[in-house]
Each structure stands twice: as structure tokens, then as C-alpha cells.
Subunit: 248 residues, 2 copies
Amino acid sequence: MKPLLGANESHPAHIVNAHGSSPFVLICEHASNAVPEKLGDLGLSNEDRQRHIAWDIGAAGVSLGLSQLLDAPLIMQCYSRLVYDCNRPPESEGAMPVVSEVFTIPGNAQLSADDRLARTSGVYRPFMDAIQKLLDRRAAHGQRAIPVSIHSFTRVYRGQEREVELGLLFDRDDWLAQKLVGNFPGVNTQFNEPYGPQDGVMHLMNLIAAPRGLKHLMIEVRNDLITEEAGQKAWAERLAQALRKAVH
Amino acid sequence: MKPLLGANESHPAHIVNAHGSSPFVLICEHASNAVPEKLGDLGLSNEDRQRHIAWDIGAAGVSLGLSQLLDAPLIMQCYSRLVYDCNRPPESEGAMPVVSEVFTIPGNAQLSADDRLARTSGVYRPFMDAIQKLLDRRAAHGQRAIPVSIHSFTRVYRGQEREVELGLLFDRDDWLAQKLVGNFPGVNTQFNEPYGPQDGVMHLMNLIAAPRGLKHLMIEVRNDLITEEAGQKAWAERLAQALRKAVH
């Protein structure tokens, strides 16, 4: 099996502020729409690779803002979810999707076992390892860790408009969601919307947070609100304020 | 931080029959009572390091027998649970216990952050990585995987005698437990006895199996039944028969 990434390409986990003092550990697994050189353009146009199917539009900007405002470590995935969706296990069809929403991904059709393993070993596994190592270090130092992942979703999905603006997503652990929910006046805030655990979106948290007994949360912001830098900054401030309050 | 293991010491994961054809992937995280040279005897007598506190007596023998009978891969931990209990997360006090049952472990008292991290990075993390890599490979090949861990428990615990002989342990996924339960005539078989998810014993399965959507089970055999080789062989045969039947 040949490695997916070239020697000069980024490690899949980009860690910002690794030793941040905040109890929150931020994760943005859909931060980037980059595709490793070896995979070309995955058979997609430039335009399609800018769409939500490739990444969570605005999520990286919000995450970086939050990391700075909270002095929190942030782990960002450097490659597109079309290469490997780090919120899906290797067993899932969604990990290397052949179809995403209404788009077919030619570069993901007819992957061999070696192709699949190269994506898993090259992108998913080192990303998860980087998160686990950061959390291992905090555990050894008795430092609190509350993993929070930052996502965005499209306003219109398969022709249907979504009213929800902020989704607080959890499986068994609603602690942080309950703490936060009352702190967004004027924002349409919902639990487990527009997705929930039944859609398999709690994979990352069920892997890196729940088995450790760590409180955690997945946050979804509607992407029309954070497409531009101003919106990203405003939402980073809004979320930072609510998160700070939750742990006081 | 200095590494825990010397250059000539075993990797913490010993993999047997890595490419076995069975759908079952066997795991024995309490297989060994060995202590890395650097940690000496952990302040315990030879006798105490033979007790249940250090390992699951008989579990390695049953696991090896099962691996052979089923043609199943088996991943065994090479170091004592007193060094690091791989069925506990790094956040847990039980990961490097200062007290186990009624025994104090002098070598685990007053561990520094570096000591704790060396144990986690040296034993727990590479063991989990080895399991994940094996499962990643099976996923890439579309090969079924049903993780099953093999444990043993003491007949007398804190002065109380246990009647249960075989425990089938699960958290959310009772599929395999239900398939197996009727197949042990004359054996006192119980669900989630003598431990259950409320005791934190589903950590390994909640880490390596549940987030992947893999059916799984933790098996506990009372250790007086498998102390000797003959008992280990008989139980390996009994379990192999029931497991084979479950996937037919």
C-alpha cells in the first residue's frame, strides 16, 4: 500500500494553541476542502469543491476565533471530508462517500481495499491519534478536557429550507447542551438539529470523548451566518461567551 | 519524558493469527502479569503479582485456544493491568490503581504527570492503536469484525462468593449476548455479572467497537474454572462452539 500523502504535504491534524489553558478542547474535522495531490481533483470542478459537500463552510474561521478567545487548543483536519470524513468510522459508506447529497464523487467510485486503507491510515487514523495524544497529555496532568466540535450546515438541504440556526448535538451526554441552550437570545437554537445521533454524526465524540467519561458537545452553525469573516467573528464571540459561562 | 519500555522489551500488543478468517476479533487486555523492567516489582511480592489483581488468571489460555479453534485474530496485552489497565481510560483512577481490591500497589503511589503519561503512551495507546489498525484493515477489505474480549473474575471477591460462572457483558449492544445465552447448559450464565457497564468495564468495547457500529461482547469466566490448562481448553471449546453457532 502506497501512502496517500506526499512528503511535503501537511499532516492531517493541524494543532493550534496545543497548550491552551481552557477546559475546552476544540475540534474541527471538516475545516478544509483540500485534496491530497495524489487524488487530483476527485473528478470534481473547482466550484463543487467549494460546496458544503467538501467541507463545513465557515467552521474553520469560527473555530480559530474561539480558540483565541477561550485560549483553547484546537485540532483541525487538513483535508476534505470527501477524502475521508473524520466524523465517520472506516466501516461507514459515508467515510469515503461515492454520493454526497446530490453530487457524485467520481474520485471515490470503485475504490480498492488498498485505496480505502490508504485513506483511513493517511487521514483518519493520524487525525484521531493526534486528538487522543492531546487528551492523554491533559489526563496525565489532571487537566480538565471538554471536547467540543464545530460544524456548519447548509440552509437549504435537498430543496428544504432549515429554520434552525444553531444546533447543539449530543448522544448520551446533554450536560453542556443544557448549560448553553438558554444563552443565545434571538437565535433559533435546537437540540440534535438538523442532525442527531441517529444519523451517525456523533462518531467522533463517541470515539474520543464518551469512552473517557469526558463531557462533550457537537456544535452546528447554519453556514449562511458564517460564510464571511464578520459572521465568523461574531459567532466565535457569541459561542465563547456562552461556553465561558457554562464552566463558571 | 523517558519511554517506559526498554528497547528489548515486548511491544504491548501481541497479535496472534492476525489474518484469521473468523468474523470474531478476540481481545485479551488482561492476559499478562508482566511488569516492565523500569518499574521493578511495583513494590509487590511475587505471590501478590500472581493474584487476580495483576491479570485475569486463565484468560490468555482460553483466548489462545479460542483463536485457534475459530481461526480468529487475537490481540493480547503483554503487561499487567497494574502497570496500565487497558480497560480503563487515562482519566480513570483505575487505569494505574493505587489500591486494587484490598491490596495497595506501592509502585503506583505518587505518580508524577510524566510517570502517568509514560504508562499511557507506553502501554495503553500502542495497544489500542494495534487493535484499531487491525480493524481498519478489515474494514478496508469489507471483512466482517465482531470484537469479543475474554476476561476472568475471582470466585471470592471481598469475602463474598459468586455463583455466576459465565458473564456476558454489554452496554447498548446485546445482540451477541442474546445469541449466546442459551448455549451453555449447566453453566450459571448471567448478563452483566459480576460487573456491568455501570462499573466502567465496557471502556475497551465502547472505544474500539461501538463507535464503528460493530457488534461486540465482553466475556467473563470465573477463574477457578480456568486456572489449569484442562479447564482453559474445555472453556475454549465450549465458547468456540457457541460463538460459531451465533454467526451461522
